[in-house]
Amino acid sequence: MIVLTSKPINVQRAIDEVSSAEAGAVVVFIGTVRNMTDGKRVVKLDFEAYDKMAISELEKIVNEAVDQWPIKNISVIHRTGNLRISDIAVVIAASSPHRKEAFRACEFVIDTLKETVPIWKKEFFEDEEIWVAAHP
Protein backbone atom coordinates (compact mmCIF):
# COMPACT_ATOMS: atom_id res chain seq x y z
CA MET A 1 0.00 0.00 0.00
CA ILE A 2 1.41 3.35 -1.08
CA VAL A 3 -0.51 6.45 -0.12
CA LEU A 4 -0.01 10.21 -0.37
CA THR A 5 -2.45 12.03 1.83
CA SER A 6 -3.14 15.54 3.03
CA LYS A 7 -4.87 14.14 6.14
CA PRO A 8 -3.18 13.09 9.41
CA ILE A 9 -1.39 9.75 9.09
CA ASN A 10 -2.71 6.73 10.97
CA VAL A 11 0.32 4.63 12.01
CA GLN A 12 -1.78 1.67 13.00
CA ARG A 13 -3.22 1.51 9.49
CA ALA A 14 0.28 1.09 8.02
CA ILE A 15 1.07 -1.62 10.58
CA ASP A 16 -2.21 -3.49 10.06
CA GLU A 17 -1.66 -3.41 6.31
CA VAL A 18 1.59 -5.42 6.53
CA SER A 19 0.82 -7.66 9.50
CA SER A 20 0.14 -11.32 8.84
CA ALA A 21 0.41 -14.67 10.55
CA GLU A 22 3.47 -15.54 8.43
CA ALA A 23 5.37 -12.40 9.42
CA GLY A 24 7.01 -12.60 12.83
CA ALA A 25 8.58 -9.16 12.52
CA VAL A 26 7.25 -5.73 11.63
CA VAL A 27 9.62 -2.75 11.55
CA VAL A 28 8.09 0.70 11.40
CA PHE A 29 9.72 4.03 10.66
CA ILE A 30 7.83 7.15 11.71
CA GLY A 31 9.18 10.51 10.56
CA THR A 32 7.78 13.49 12.43
CA VAL A 33 8.25 17.26 12.23
CA ARG A 34 11.06 18.26 14.56
CA ASN A 35 10.92 21.57 16.43
CA MET A 36 14.50 22.49 15.50
CA THR A 37 16.69 22.38 12.39
CA ASP A 38 20.34 23.36 12.75
CA GLY A 39 19.56 25.10 16.02
CA LYS A 40 16.70 27.17 14.58
CA ARG A 41 13.12 26.92 15.78
CA VAL A 42 10.79 25.44 13.14
CA VAL A 43 7.27 26.92 13.05
CA LYS A 44 5.71 24.65 10.42
CA LEU A 45 6.40 22.61 7.30
CA ASP A 46 4.90 22.35 3.89
CA PHE A 47 5.17 19.24 1.72
CA GLU A 48 4.50 19.43 -1.98
CA ALA A 49 4.52 16.34 -4.20
CA TYR A 50 4.44 15.54 -7.89
CA ASP A 51 1.85 12.97 -6.93
CA LYS A 52 1.77 10.65 -9.92
CA MET A 53 5.54 10.27 -10.11
CA ALA A 54 5.96 10.18 -6.31
CA ILE A 55 3.67 7.14 -6.24
CA SER A 56 5.44 5.42 -9.15
CA GLU A 57 8.90 6.08 -7.66
CA LEU A 58 7.71 4.70 -4.31
CA GLU A 59 6.41 1.61 -6.11
CA LYS A 60 9.86 1.11 -7.65
CA ILE A 61 11.52 1.39 -4.25
CA VAL A 62 9.12 -1.05 -2.64
CA ASN A 63 9.56 -3.52 -5.52
CA GLU A 64 13.32 -3.23 -5.23
CA ALA A 65 13.13 -3.97 -1.48
CA VAL A 66 10.85 -6.95 -2.05
CA ASP A 67 13.27 -8.30 -4.70
CA GLN A 68 16.25 -7.84 -2.42
CA TRP A 69 14.96 -9.29 0.86
CA PRO A 70 12.39 -11.96 1.84
CA ILE A 71 9.76 -9.39 2.75
CA LYS A 72 6.07 -10.15 3.22
CA ASN A 73 4.73 -6.65 2.70
CA ILE A 74 5.64 -2.96 2.83
CA SER A 75 3.38 0.03 3.28
CA VAL A 76 4.29 3.68 2.81
CA ILE A 77 2.11 6.64 3.78
CA HIS A 78 3.46 10.14 3.09
CA ARG A 79 1.72 13.32 4.15
CA THR A 80 1.42 16.38 1.91
CA GLY A 81 0.39 19.96 2.65
CA ASN A 82 0.78 21.89 5.84
CA LEU A 83 2.24 20.18 8.92
CA ARG A 84 2.86 21.38 12.47
CA ILE A 85 5.53 20.33 14.99
CA SER A 86 5.21 16.63 15.96
CA ASP A 87 2.88 15.86 13.06
CA ILE A 88 3.76 12.65 11.23
CA ALA A 89 5.30 13.27 7.79
CA VAL A 90 5.84 9.68 6.75
CA VAL A 91 5.28 6.12 7.98
CA ILE A 92 6.93 3.05 6.49
CA ALA A 93 6.08 -0.43 7.74
CA ALA A 94 7.85 -3.59 6.55
CA SER A 95 7.00 -7.13 7.59
CA SER A 96 9.05 -10.30 7.19
CA PRO A 97 9.31 -13.76 8.71
CA HIS A 98 12.58 -12.73 10.44
CA ARG A 99 13.54 -9.36 11.79
CA LYS A 100 16.85 -8.56 10.03
CA GLU A 101 15.18 -8.28 6.65
CA ALA A 102 12.41 -6.02 7.95
CA PHE A 103 15.01 -3.65 9.44
CA ARG A 104 17.06 -3.60 6.23
CA ALA A 105 14.04 -3.09 3.98
CA CYS A 106 12.43 -0.38 6.12
CA GLU A 107 15.67 1.62 6.28
CA PHE A 108 16.28 1.13 2.54
CA VAL A 109 12.84 2.50 1.72
CA ILE A 110 13.19 5.67 3.80
CA ASP A 111 16.80 6.26 2.65
CA THR A 112 15.86 5.88 -1.02
CA LEU A 113 12.62 7.83 -0.64
CA LYS A 114 14.69 10.79 0.52
CA GLU A 115 16.92 10.52 -2.56
CA THR A 116 14.55 9.89 -5.43
CA VAL A 117 10.88 10.56 -4.66
CA PRO A 118 9.63 13.92 -6.01
CA ILE A 119 8.38 15.41 -2.76
CA TRP A 120 9.59 18.79 -1.55
CA LYS A 121 9.70 20.15 1.96
CA LYS A 122 9.61 23.82 2.85
CA GLU A 123 10.58 24.67 6.40
CA PHE A 124 9.11 27.81 7.95
CA PHE A 125 11.27 29.40 10.63
CA GLU A 126 10.37 32.49 12.63
CA ASP A 127 12.22 34.76 10.19
CA GLU A 128 12.58 32.81 6.94
CA GLU A 129 11.32 29.99 4.74
CA ILE A 130 13.65 27.42 3.20
CA TRP A 131 13.15 24.72 0.59
CA VAL A 132 15.14 21.91 2.22
CA ALA A 133 18.25 20.73 0.30
CA ALA A 134 17.60 23.12 -2.60
CA HIS A 135 20.93 24.92 -2.31
CA PRO A 136 24.43 23.56 -1.73
Binding site: E48, Y50, H78, A89, W120, W131
Partner: protein, 80 residues
Protein backbone atom coordinates in the same frame (compact mmCIF):
# COMPACT_ATOMS: atom_id res chain seq x y z
CA UNK B 1 7.91 23.12 -30.64
CA UNK B 2 5.79 24.29 -27.70
CA UNK B 3 6.39 22.54 -24.39
CA UNK B 4 4.47 22.76 -21.14
CA UNK B 5 6.94 22.54 -18.28
CA UNK B 6 5.40 21.89 -14.86
CA UNK B 7 7.03 23.38 -11.83
CA UNK B 8 7.11 22.32 -8.19
CA UNK B 9 8.77 23.47 -5.01
CA UNK B 10 11.51 26.03 -5.37
CA UNK B 11 11.39 26.02 -9.19
CA UNK B 12 7.77 27.19 -8.97
CA UNK B 13 8.90 30.08 -6.77
CA UNK B 14 11.88 30.99 -8.94
CA UNK B 15 9.80 31.10 -12.11
CA UNK B 16 6.78 32.55 -10.32
CA UNK B 17 4.23 30.19 -11.84
CA UNK B 18 3.25 26.51 -11.70
CA UNK B 19 3.55 25.91 -15.43
CA UNK B 20 5.75 27.39 -18.09
CA UNK B 21 4.85 27.39 -21.77
CA UNK B 22 8.16 27.12 -23.52
CA UNK B 23 9.29 27.32 -27.13
CA UNK B 24 12.17 25.12 -28.26
CA UNK B 25 13.49 24.14 -31.66
CA UNK B 26 12.19 20.70 -32.62
CA UNK B 27 14.34 17.68 -31.69
CA UNK B 28 15.63 19.51 -28.64
CA UNK B 29 16.73 17.23 -25.84
CA UNK B 30 16.55 17.40 -22.05
CA UNK B 31 20.02 18.89 -21.88
CA UNK B 32 19.15 21.84 -24.12
CA UNK B 33 15.91 22.49 -22.20
CA UNK B 34 17.86 22.71 -18.96
CA UNK B 35 20.44 24.99 -20.54
CA UNK B 36 17.74 27.34 -21.90
CA UNK B 37 15.89 27.45 -18.60
CA UNK B 38 19.04 28.16 -16.60
CA UNK B 39 19.91 30.96 -18.98
CA UNK B 40 16.50 32.55 -18.62
CA UNK B 41 16.23 31.92 -14.84
CA UNK B 42 19.78 32.02 -13.49
CA UNK B 43 18.47 31.09 -10.01
CA UNK B 44 17.78 27.60 -11.37
CA UNK B 45 21.51 27.21 -11.98
CA UNK B 46 22.24 27.80 -8.29
CA UNK B 47 20.26 24.77 -7.13
CA UNK B 48 22.07 21.71 -5.79
CA UNK B 49 20.64 19.77 -8.71
CA UNK B 50 17.98 20.19 -11.38
CA UNK B 51 16.63 17.05 -12.99
CA UNK B 52 13.91 16.70 -15.58
CA UNK B 53 11.13 14.14 -15.53
CA UNK B 54 9.48 13.22 -18.80
CA UNK B 55 6.17 11.36 -18.67
CA UNK B 56 6.68 10.54 -14.99
CA UNK B 57 10.22 9.14 -15.24
CA UNK B 58 13.60 10.70 -14.61
CA UNK B 59 14.92 11.50 -18.09
CA UNK B 60 18.48 11.09 -19.36
CA UNK B 61 20.12 14.26 -20.66
CA UNK B 62 20.00 13.14 -24.28
CA UNK B 63 16.29 12.25 -24.38
CA UNK B 64 14.66 14.07 -27.28
CA UNK B 65 11.49 15.93 -26.28
CA UNK B 66 8.08 15.89 -28.00
CA UNK B 67 5.24 18.36 -27.75
CA UNK B 68 2.98 15.78 -26.10
CA UNK B 69 5.47 14.98 -23.33
CA UNK B 70 4.66 15.76 -19.72
CA UNK B 71 7.80 17.64 -18.72
CA UNK B 72 8.46 18.44 -15.07
CA UNK B 73 11.43 20.17 -13.45
CA UNK B 74 12.67 18.27 -10.41
CA UNK B 75 14.69 20.38 -7.97
CA UNK B 76 16.46 18.57 -5.08
CA UNK B 77 13.87 16.35 -3.40
CA UNK B 78 13.37 16.46 0.38
CA UNK B 79 10.53 14.13 1.29
CA UNK B 80 10.36 12.01 4.42
Amino acid sequence: MRLNVKLYGITKEIVGQTELKYCLSSSSDVSSLRKELKREYPELGRLTSLLVAVNGEYAPRDLVLNEQDEVVLIPPVSGG
